[in-house]
C-alpha cells in the first residue's frame, strides 16, 4: 500500500471552500436538529426521568448528543458526500490526475469529515455551556475529542463507500449501523439498564467509546475505562484508515 502525503491538505481545503459557500443549507441538520433534541429530551423527558447517575437528565444527555451528532456529521460527509464527489461529479478522478494521489484524496476527505464532527460538536457544546450544563473546564477538550471520533467515523464510512455497488446501499449503513448505535451506546440511557448481551455488544460499538470520553470531559468525572475507550478509538481508526486507503486505490485505479 501507499501512504498519503501532506498534499491531503489540498483536498481538505477544497471541501472547506465548498462548505463555506454552501453551509447555510446544512445548518438545519447539524445545528438545529441536535439542539431541538437536546431541549426536548433534556427538559421534556428529563422532567419524568429525574436524576440519572446523580445528575440532571439534561446534563447526562447533552454530551451524548454532542458525540452522536459528531458521528452523524462525519458519517454523512464521508458516505453520501464522498460518494457524490467520487461517482457523480468525478471530482476524485480530476484530482488524481494532478500530483495529488488517491491516498491524499482519501485522507483529505477523512480529515474534512473529522472537521465537520468538530464543528458540530463545538456548536452544541457552546449552546450547552450557555445553558450552564457543562461544569468542568475539561470540556474545552471536547472539540478535540469530536475531531478524533470524526477521524474514526470518517474512516469507517469511506471504507464502506469504497465497497458498495450503489448509493442506495447507504440505507443499510445508516439503519443497521449508525442508528442502532445512536440508541445503544449510552447516549440516552446508561448502559447498565440494558440486558447483558446488549451491554457487551455496546461496549465495542465505536460510538460508546466516544460518548464515554466526551461525557467524562463534560462532567469532569473520569473513570479508568476512558483509557480503554481512547485506545479503542485509536485502534478502530487505524484499521479503517488503512482499509479505506487500500480499498479506494483498488476501486479508483483500475
Amino acid at each position: 500500500m501507499k501512504w498519503p502525503s501532506w498534499r491531503f491538505i489540498r483536498v481538505w481545503q477544497r471541501n472547506r471552500d465548498v462548505f463555506l459557500k454552501l453551509w447555510p443549507s446544512e445548518v438545519t441538520g447539524f445545528v438545529v436538529e441536535p439542539l431541538v433534541l437536546l431541549l426536548a429530551m433534556g427538559f421534556g423527558l428529563g422532567a419524568y426521568v429525574g436524576m440519572v447517575n446523580g445528575q440532571e437528565y439534561i446534563e447526562f444527555v447533552a454530551p451524548g448528543i454532542i458525540a452522536s451528532y459528531a458521528m452523524f456529521s462525519a458519517s454523512f460527509e464521508c458516505t453520501y458526500g464522498s460518494y457524490l464527489r467520487m461517482s457523480y461529479q468525478r471530482t476524485f478522478d480530476a484530482i488524481i490526475a494532478t500530483p495529488v494521489n488517491v491516498e491524499d484524496v482519501i485522507t483529505g476527505e477523512i480529515f474534512w469529515g473529522a472537521t465537520r464532527s468538530m464543528l458540530t460538536g463545538t456548536v452544541i457544546l457552546i449552546v450547552a455551556t450557555a445553558f450552564g450544563l457543562a461544569e468542568s473546564s475539561w470540556a474545552l477538550l471536547i472539540p478535540l475529542l469530536a475531531f478524533l471520533q470524526g477521524l474514526m467515523f470518517s474512516s469507517i464510512a469511506l471504507t464502506f463507500t469504497a465497497i458498495i455497488p450503489s448509493i442506495h446501499s447507504f440505507n443499510h449503513y445508516f439503519s443497521l449501523f449508525i442508528s442502532p448505535m445512536f440508541f445503544f451506546s449510552g447516549v440516552f440511557f446508561p448502559l447498565d439498564s440494558f440486558p447483558d448481551i446488549v451491554q457487551r455488544l455496546s461496549w465495542i460499538a465505536p460510538l460508546t467509546s466516544a460518548v464515554k470520553l466526551i461525557r467524562a470531559c463534560f462532567n469532569g468525572e473520569f473513570h479508568p475505562d476512558i483509557w480503554l475507550a481512547l485506545g479503542l478509538i485509536a485502534l478502530i481508526t487505524l484499521v479503517f484508515f488503512v482499509a479505506s486507503l487500500v480499498l479506494m486505490r483498488r476501486k479508483l485505479i483500475v
Binding site: Q13, R14, K21, Q89, R90, D93, A94, I95, T98, P99
Partner: protein, 303 residues
C-alpha cells in the same frame, strides 16, 4: 527526441485485453492524433500515460521518467483534458481554476495570475464568477482546456475535446490548440473526428482493438492507403454482385459500405469501363483521412 515513450504496453481488465502490445514514441513539440473507433483503447492508452491506471505489462516513460516510479513528477508535467466532464460543480469558474492550482501547489498569487491568463486564452475572461450550471457545453469544454493548462504543462493530452460542440466552438478550440502547438507544447489528441486530426496533427496513429495499426503524417496515410482519389459506386438492385465480381477480376481495391462500393488507388474512370453502372451513380472525390480510417478499421458498424 521522444518526450513520451510507450513500449510493449499491454493492459488487461480482468480477462479482456484493452491494449495489446502498444509501441509509440511521441516527439517533443509535435501534435500526435490518436484515432480509433469506440472501444479501440484510446482512453485506456491515455490513462497509462497519466498514471491513472496501472500497466499490466510494458513500460511508459514521460520526459525520461518511468511512470511506475515517478508518477507524481510526471503528473506535474502533464495537462489533461478528459473525455468526460469532471469540472467541480460545487465551485464557480475561477474557483475551479484556483482550486486546481492548489493541487499543483501553485502559490495563490501566481494562481490568480495564471487563471486570468488561461481564461483569456480560451475566451472566457468575462465569466470568472459564473456557476458551472450557467455555462454551455462549449464553454465547459473550454474551461476544461483552461484547467488543463493551469500548470503550464509541457504536454497536453486531450481526449475527444470537441465532442458535442457546435461548429463555431469547435473551430475556436482548434484555433487555440494550434496556438498551443505553435508555442511548443506537445499535444496528444484523441479523437474520432477525422477533420480534427487532419487539421491539427503532425502525425496520426490509428488504433483498432487495442493495437496501433498505422502511424504517419495524415497526408501520407491517405496517399499510401487509399490513393489521392476515391470513386464511389452506387449499384442498382441486382447489379451489385456482378460489379463486385468484375472489380475483383480487375484487381481493383474496394470496400463495401452501406449502399455504396468505395474503390481505392484508382486514377481514372477507365477502371470501370463496361460495368453496369447507371449514369450519375459513379462519383469521384478527393480521398480523406476518413477513407483511410474506414478502410483500416472496417466500414461495418462496431458495437
Amino acid at each position: 527526441m521522444a518526450v513520451i515513450s510507450i513500449s510493449n504496453v499491454v493492459k488487461k481488465y480482468k480477462d479482456f485485453v484493452a491494449l495489446n502490445g502498444v509501441n509509440l514514441e511521441i516527439k517533443q513539440g509535435e501534435c500526435l492524433g490518436l484515432l480509433g473507433p469506440n472501444g479501440a483503447g484510446k482512453t485506456t492508452l491515455i490513462r497509462m500515460i497519466t498514471g491513472s491506471s496501472p500497466l499490466t505489462e510494458g513500460e511508459v516513460s514521460v520526459g525520461g521518467m518511468d511512470i511506475k516510479t515517478s508518477e507524481r513528477q510526471i503528473k506535474a508535467l502533464i495537462g489533461i483534458v478528459p473525455q468526460l466532464d469532471n469540472l467541480d460543480p460545487d465551485l464557480n469558474v475561477i474557483g475551479n481554476l484556483l482550486t486546481f492550482s492548489r493541487y499543483f501547489n501553485i502559490p495563490h498569487k501566481e494562481a490568480k495570475k495564471r487563471s486570468t491568463e488561461v481564461l483569456q486564452l480560451v475566451g472566457l475572461e468575462n465569466r470568472p464568477k459564473s456557476n458551472l450550471g450557467e455555462l454551455s457545453g462549449g464553454m465547459k469544454r473550454r474551461l476544461m482546456i483552461a484547467r488543463g493548462l493551469i500548470n503550464r504543462p509541457r504536454i497536453l493530452i486531450l481526449d475527444e475535446p470537441t465532442v458535442g460542440l457546435d461548429p463555431q466552438a469547435k473551430h475556436l478550440v482548434w484555433h487555440k490548440l494550434r496556438e498551443l502547438r505553435n508555442s511548443g507544447v506537445t499535444l496528444v489528441l484523441c479523437t474520432q473526428v477525422m477533420e480534427e486530426a487532419a487539421e491539427l496533427a503532425d502525425r496520426v496513429a490509428i488504433m483498432d482493438k487495442g493495437s496501433i495499426i498505422c502511424l504517419a503524417p495524415p497526408a501520407e496515410l491517405v496517399v499510401q492507403n487509399v490513393g489521392r482519389t476515391v470513386w464511389e459506386i452506387e449499384p442498382e438492385d441486382g447489379h451489385r454482385e456482378p460489379i463486385i465480381k468484375a472489380l475483383e477480376q480487375r484487381r481493383v481495391e474496394f470496400d463495401e459500405g452501406p449502399g455504396k462500393i468505395t474503390t481505392y488507388h484508382v486514377n481514372d474512370a477507365d477502371a470501370f469501363k463496361g460495368l453496369a453502372i447507371a449514369t450519375g451513380k459513379l462519383k469521384q472525390r478527393p480521398a480523406t483521412l476518413e477513407d483511410v480510417f474506414l478502410k483500416l478499421t472496417g466500414r461495418a458498424l462496431i458495437e
